[in-house]
């Protein structure tokens, strides 16, 4: 009863999604966006006319103005600094624009240019101090905040009357302040243009990458030759310019210089920046985050003003939001990888009946023996990690190596070896097609083809993306083994879509159906997923009827058959289950039966743990990886079975000295060749009663004339 409940809970509750969602980069933008939607919804409910066009246009104007300053702040925060002087720069450039326009009567274009230059100069002071003199950004901009503010106070004491007295009626100036195009305010249009440019600048252009690099690690950026000081200084200049743009629109809209213009603006903008998810300390951030943050803060402050909250409450709300956002951001950035690695492993319920006996004296087909003790060794110490071995028509032996090579041992004595082809990723399963092309599954890369002259070609490295998967499963992460049908379809297994090549045992810990079987059509070059939800599908072999394949599910401890053509097309049938070990590659035997490698034997502890997902999850969270309970892959055997699922014979190396682990085996001219992914050798075992002329590919594709 309890087991049933556990099994139902783990079958239908998607534990694995949390880790996958958290490891997506868009989650960091998604959270502020969700917050924005909540705030917008709440305010539109509590305030009348909140979503009316005039109200929205008004919000857009304010958002545009603060948005410019937000972009500047985002830039300096990404580069690893902070700019508190924006409020004062805003006030000073606002004064500059109005003074030039109202008192000196300059033409509007000249006013615009002069104001931008003014902003650039004010920013340049910060830039020189922080970039070149390497002062602390916070304290420096705090000081320039006071200096600029007092300069502004001194200036308006003298000129506020003459500015207030002037009523310039210049169409272009009025357009800046209140004009719109098709109902979109002028400031919003300019903001959108600059935001799009800013996005391209930060994500596609070299200086933008430099800025992110400096924020990520100033010293590394310096060591890799980035002009750190100049870039930082220019970021503060840009912040000044962007602030002066905001001030221009503000000046044109209101046309006054009150004493409190821009007071506390830095806190609003800073709150927006942190709330949008731009990390304090630098290295992370985007234009979209800045915009979202500005919108949230603006909606909240405007909402509070509309609701007639006291000034103190407004202040507290801003400070509170700022603190919470900063705290969440800092904790998240610090613990992100740890959190993800803790929640990513999502074990599930996997119950197996007790395994058949293998001990000596118990009888049965799996009874241990010592037949493999006398295998000959090929390439001892000269090859590493031959996961699969294969022989061509000329009796040459091929094997993959950990270094990303296909190694060829020459017949007849297999002493001479050479690198047949270099691929780069670790070769796993291999198969020859009718034209003697060698198809290889490469872990982490996909399916590759090696022509007889050693040229490496990519066959496929992607399949159709499934709709319900959070992880991008269109790329092949762990192509494992393959076989080729008579019609030129290549069926290959992808062991897991959730883990990389080096983490494959963790998939066994999870025991979820993360794997799939993919079909590549050599005629059309198209790839599609044939079957998904398999527990680490591994070995694949086309069955004797030519319309089905046999495949092994390593952590399902079973062999299944999938019909890809004929009347039962698409159906899956269990051939054998409850194997005593973890099945790996399957290959043809000379007598029409099949060879199967068991890479490791089941153990009672893991069998029990597989029924206890909670236990495995706690283990993954609390214990370091190297102390986890993992599937045993140290001892295994080779068995022969027939298509009815009956085990005929088994071959063991009891002491594990000559051939410690077995992931694959090939029969060729009376011998069985053994490969193992942890081995430094290839085994060669003389079979009794085997056809001494059996060549797998002559049998499959017919003898060459």
């Amino acid at each position: 009863m309890r087991d049933t409940l556990t099994s139902l809970r783990y079958r239908y509750w998607p534990d694995h999604l949390l880790g996958e969602i958290l490891s997506k980069r868009w989650t960091e933008t998604a959270i502020p966006v969700i917050l924005l939607l909540i705030v917008g919804f709440a305010l539109s409910r509590s305030i009348d006319h909140f979503l009316s066009p005039s109200s929205l246009a008004d919000t857009a104007r304010q958002a545009g103005e603060i948005g410019f300053i937000g972009l500047g702040m985002a830039l300096v925060v990404i580069v690893g600094g902070i700019d508190l002087s924006v409020g004062s720069i805003f006030a000073l450039t606002d004064f500059c624009a109005l003074y030039l326009l109202d008192v000196l009567n300059w033409p509007v274009p000249a006013v615009v240019v002069a104001t931008l230059i003014c902003g650039a100069l004010l920013g340049a002071v910060n830039g020189v101090l922080i970039g070149y003199l390497r002062l602390r950004a916070f304290i420096t901009t705090l000081i320039t905040l006071i200096i600029y503010r007092s300069a502004f106070d001194l200036l308006i004491q003298r000129y506020s009357n003459s500015i207030a007295a002037a009523f310039p009626d210049i169409p272009s100036w009025n357009f800046i302040g209140g004009g719109d195009v098709f109902g979109i305010p002028s400031v919003a249009i300019v903001y959108i243009a600059i935001a799009i440019f800013g996005h391209i600048f930060m994500t596609r252009l070299r200086p933008g990458w430099h800025i992110t690099a400096i924020g990520g690690s100033r010293r590394s950026a310096y060591n890799s030759g980035i002009p750190v000081r100049r870039t930082i200084a220019l970021c503060y200049v840009a912040s000044g310019v962007l602030t002066s743009i905001a001030a221009l629109f503000f000046a044109a809209r209101l046309g006054t210089v009150g004493g409190d213009i821009g007071v506390g603006l830095e806190v609003i903008v800073l709150t927006a920046t942190v709330l949008g998810g731009i990390t304090l300390g630098g290295g992370k951030g985007s234009v979209a985050k800045s915009l979202v943050g500005v919108l949230i803060v603006l909606l909240i402050t405007n909402g509070l003003t509309t609701l007639n909250a006291r000034g103190g409450i407004n202040r507290m709300a801003l400070a509170g939001i700022l603190l919470v956002a900063a705290m969440v951001d800092i904790r998240w950035q610090k613990n992100r990888t740890r959190i993800i690695s803790k929640v990513y492993v999502a074990p599930t319920y996997h119950a197996l009946p007790p395994p058949p006996a293998t001990e000596i004296g118990q009888g049965g087909p799996f009874e241990q023996n010592d037949k493999l003790r006398d295998v000959e060794l090929i390439g001892l110490g000269r090859i590493e990690a031959p996961e699969d071995v294969i022989l061509d028509r000329n009796n040459n032996l091929y094997a993959g190596s950990r270094h990303g090579d296909i190694i060829r041992f020459h017949a007849p004595d297999y002493q001479r070896m050479e690198v047949f082809a270099h691929i780069g990723g670790q070769p796993l399963g291999m198969a020859f097609d009718r034209q003697d092309n060698l198809y290889v599954c490469i872990g982490g890369m996909g399916l590759y083809r090696i022509t007889p002259d050693g040229t490496v070609e990519k066959a496929t490295d992607e399949t159709n993306r499934s709709m319900h998967s959070v992880n991008d499963d269109s790329r092949l992460r762990l192509a494992d083994d393959l076989d080729i049908t008579d019609d030129g379809l290549i069926f290959f297994s992808e062991a897991t879509v959730r883990y990389e090549m080096d983490e494959w045992p963790i998939d066994g810990l999870e025991a979820r159906g993360n794997g799939r079987i993919i079909c590549y059509d050599t005629k059309t070059g198209a790839t599609h997923t044939a079957l998904r939800g398999l527990k680490f599908p591994n070995g694949i072999c086309v069955a004797s009827d030519g319309v089905s394949i046999l495949f092994a599910e390593t952590f399902g401890c079973s062999i299944k058959r999938l019909w890809f053509a004929g009347p039962k097309k698409g159906q899956v049938e269990v051939v054998m289950d409850n194997l005593p070990g973890y099945p790996d590659n399957i290959n043809l035997a000379s007598d029409g039966n099949y060879w199967l490698a068991l890479v490791g034997m089941r153990s009672p502890s893991l069998d029990l743990a597989w029924k206890m997902p909670g236990f495995r999850r706690r283990m993954a969270k609390r214990v370091p990886v190297d102390e986890w309970l993992f599937p045993n892959i140290n001892t295994g055997c080779v068995v022969k079975f027939n298509e009815q699922g009956k085990i005929l014979e088994s071959f063991w190396d009891l002491r594990g000295e000559n051939h410690p682990m077995i992931t694959s085996m090939r029969e060729h001219r009376g011998y069985l060749y053994l490969g193992g992914i942890m081995n430094n050798r290839i085994g060669r075992y003389k079979l009794e009663n085997a056809d001494p002329n059996f060549v797998q590919y002559d049998k499959r594709w017919g003898k060459l004339s």
């Binding site: 003199l133 602390r136 304290i139 006071i146 690690s217 304090l280 705290m327």
Partner: protein
């Protein structure tokens, strides 16, 4: 470098002496008993705040929220007495509020690892907003009859010395004792010098950091009480002023490097004297408030630049994101 650092104290003291001498000679009304009293009284509050800031800066932090701690809890005392509560009850409430505030600051900085500048900027706003929104009826909280006798904390003289100066002296002695004679004072220096090394050697660095901010907030509250007693009211809008920059100025000019682990009470006294003289001289010269701020800002900037040359930031222990 080491020689230079010791020189800074002497330079600042020399500057102070020259400034004082020049003001005495050229400014009419500077060297009068009344003005000296005003100067010292103004300086007293600034100096007490400087002590609070010094504790935090020595521990490689900064506390922007000191002015909130100065304004709000003492303002609360005045408000509560005005509303009819007894003085002891009001004082206890204010101290509890201050301790809670210090704990929040310390927790944010030590445990949540928010940069100290940033955390205290926000918490200061929070506390000031709380006072404005919930605690005070008017921006200036007036003295009431229930406070009778309490004004002696800031007014009058003890043995011929103005009381506020005595309070500053007491605060100096207490802080000097804490920093130099107690174990946790030594811990603060160790943490300021190299936080990682301090943690590795087994110093409970997080609780000590929390303690720093609690003590700083309490000293700030004490300064506020002295200030309120001397002017018989609590102008809570002082939070919006630039007083905090004066405090930073005191600490940095006095020679306590912002990178932490250096300096002591003597530096605060020297810095306080210099700033007090400067501000007082400017007031007598009738420089406008904005003009004074401008001068202060420029001096502070020069001080920070000098500080960055004399006490360069240790790049090895400067945290990524330490802005």
């Amino acid at each position: 470098m080491k020689r230079l650092r010791f020189n800074q104290q002497e330079i600042v003291f020399a500057v102070f002496a020259v400034l004082f001498l020049a003001f005495s000679i050229f400014l009419r009304g500077f060297l009068t008993p009344e003005n000296m009293l005003t100067l010292l009284q103004n300086v007293a509050v600034l100096g007490i705040l400087g002590l609070a800031m010094a504790i935090v800066v020595i521990g490689r932090g900064i506390d922007i929220s000191l002015i909130a701690a100065l304004a709000v809890p003492p303002g609360l005392v005045l408000q509560m007495v005005q509303n009819g509560h007894s003085l002891p009850a009001a004082l206890v409430t204010a101290v509890l509020l201050t301790i809670a505030f210090g704990l929040v600051n310390g927790w944010l900085i030590a445990y949540a690892e928010v940069p100290s500048l940033f955390a205290t900027l926000a918490t200061g706003l929070l506390l000031a907003g709380l006072g404005q929104a919930a605690l005070f009826q008017l921006d200036v909280v007036q003295w009431s009859d229930g406070m009778k006798g309490f004004e002696r904390l800031g007014q009058g003289t003890i043995l011929g010395i103005p009381t506020s100066i005595v309070m500053f002296a007491i605060a100096c002695v207490v802080v000097a004792f804490l920093l130099r004679q107690t174990r946790w004072g030594a811990y603060i220096y160790a943490i300021g010098d190299n936080p990682y090394a301090a943690r590795v050697t087994g110093i409970p660095s997080r609780p000590i950091i929390v303690l720093q901010y609690v003590v700083a907030a309490l000293i700030g509250c004490f300064a506020g009480l002295v200030m309120a007693a001397s002017v018989n009211s609590m102008p809570t809008r002082i939070f919006n002023s630039t007083l905090i920059y004066d405090v930073i100025l005191v600490v940095v000019l006095g020679g306590i490097g912002l990178s932490g682990g250096r300096g002591g009470v003597l530096n605060v006294i020297i810095g306080t004297l210099l700033i007090g003289t400067m501000l007082n001289g400017m007031t007598i010269m009738d420089i406008s408030y904005a003009g004074q701020n401008l001068v202060k800002g420029v001096v502070l900037l020069l001080a920070v630049i000098t500080d960055s040359f004399l006490n360069p930031r240790n790049e090895e222990t400067a945290q990524q994101g330490d802005i």
